[in-house]
Amino acid sequence: ISLNKEIDEDFYEELEEILIGADVGVNASLQIVESLRDKVKERKIKKADEVKELLKEELAKIVEGKSQGLNLNEHQPAVIMVVGVNGVGKTTTIGKLAFKFKEEGKKVLLAAGDTFRAAAIEQLEVWANRSGSGFIKHQQGSDPAAVAFDAIQAAKSRGTDVVIIDTAGRLQTKVNLMQELQKVKRVIQKEIPDAPHETLLVLDATTGQNAISQAKLFDETVNLSGIVLTKLDGTAKGGVVFGICSEMEIPVKFIGIGERIEDLREFNPENFVEALFD
């Protein structure tokens, strides 16, 4: 949007299209631009680039979560459960988190809770080796809850600082698979009453409006503490998080920006909003 632009209907339409094109969703985009119009009138803003800056401020406010980091230091072991639909980047994200904690001097244990998908256990084992983490696995096809239980026992006896539990990808509409996830959580809670201390939903930034349904149903099933938005190194903008943050107040805690172990960043609202307009 050029700096000499008029604040007219075309201008507001252009802003709407940027938001819709970023997967913010048509209704959310209309509401955001509507409230922007009111503020522009109220504050008697005359310059187009000032309107654009105001929009960025309003968008950043929506995704500014109160707890950006992970609250792990008050628990030993701290338990993180990672969930999400198929192929979004859960296993890779766990490898990245493990590496981050290792760099912070923490002792990490990874639990191979995906006992279903071909070579899922082997895939996580590679990440455990790369990140210098301990590794707990059972046989292919075994009960994921049993793996979680085993991992927590091992963590307690080894003085592990962080346990990260990988789970199989599952579409949120599959009731039996969502129930399986609830069982894994119950088993964790039985061993450590306020665990898992973090339940992270991994969302693929290329996902459209179905992300809202994913966040809603996973939150209802296992109560989410945060979101990791992956594949932001692509051209997708991940605009679905605005709807999720405003409706469900689940903060985005990290973003994935590549396939390497170091490609994880803490979520920064301002940078995220800037990128929408690139």
Binding site: V26, A118, G234
Partner: protein
């Protein structure tokens, strides 16, 4: 639903013979909303709505339909027309082996779909060979080997230290020497904006000249579907697409975006994690799903 919204839009007009420009303009607003909510790319929606508008203005409202139903009928037909009407089967080579190359973004479902396609072709009496060209993702080769063993289809691999171009080349020779009439190349997921990795695909294509290049797309992909489809098509020339994870509740507007921007037909859909969960693409069912 869209039909309810359109019933409301047209509540005030009873028994009119034709759809006026004003009636249609109002209805198109609802159609646009429905398609955007279904994740169809907003530029594709613009073109589509204009096309529908042309057909709808002055259209006779059939005696058996309300004006709202008449508009839905036109939208439905236009969607089916746009997404269907093309060859939806794999191109078979006149001289074996037929070479199929699976490409797409990370996590779209290529490896699983390669297995499903192999199983499907085996059922039809063909002798497929799965080829492990993903040398980057941890345990990717192992994953394809497990998939192959589950459906009793051989997997060709040269480990993860070899160049995927060499692996593809060696796989085709292997197929020729072992009577495999179909070669399915599973490639690593990659971004359409990664020049080096897109070049790798171009090099594989130049080396083995696939008869069928399938773009595997996650059905929950949003607005970005247009960028991905455009870039992969520009780089390689896509013969068809497979839309995966349609066993969920995503509306699947990416189907329309992919077809509109590349002209390539969607040939199959993935409807589950098991290796028998592959179905033919039906444009009429997809149209209903997108409209919600």
């Amino acid at each position: 639903s869209l039909s309810e919204k359109l019933q409301n839009t047209f509540k005030k007009l009873k028994g009119k013979g034709k759809l006026s420009e004003k009636d249609v303009k109002e209805a198109m607003r609802e159609v646009r909303m429905a398609l955007l909510e279904a994740d169809v790319n907003y530029k594709v929606v613009k073109d589509f709505v204009n096309k529908v508008k042309e057909r709808a203005v002055g259209a006779e409202v059939l005696k058996s339909l309300t004006p709202g139903q008449q508009v839905i009928k036109i939208v439905h037909e236009e969607l089916i027309d746009l997404m269907g009407g093309t060859n939806s089967s794999i191109n078979i080579a006149s001289k074996p082996p037929t070479i199929i190359m699976m490409v797409g973004l990370q996590g779209a479902g290529k490896t699983t779909t390669a297995g499903k396609l192999g199983a499907n072709l085996k059922k039809k009496g063909r002798r497929p060979l799965l080829v492990a060209c993903d040398v980057y993702r941890p345990a990717a080769i192992h994953q394809l080997e497990v998939v192959g063993s589950q459906i009793d289809i051989p997997v060709f691999s040269m480990g993860d230290r070899q160049n995927p171009v060499n692996i593809a080349k060696a796989a085709v020779s292997h197929a020729e020497n072992h009577g495999n009439d179909t070669v399915i190349l599973d490639t690593a997921g990659r971004l359409h904006i990664n020049e080096e990795l897109m070049d790798e695909l171009k090099n594989i294509k130049a080396e083995v000249k696939p008869h069928e290049i399938l773009l595997v797309v996650d059905a929950m992909t949003g607005q970005d579907a247009v960028n991905v489809a455009e870039q992969f098509n520009e780089a390689l020339g896509i013969d068809g697409a497979v839309l995966t994870k349609l066993d969920g509740d995503t509306r699947g507007g990416a189907a329309l975006s992919v077809k509109a921007v590349t002209g390539c037909p969607i040939k199959y859909i993935g409807v589950g994690e098991k290796l028998d969960a592959l179905e033919d693409f039906h444009p009429d069912r997809m149209a209903s799903r997108i409209l919600g």
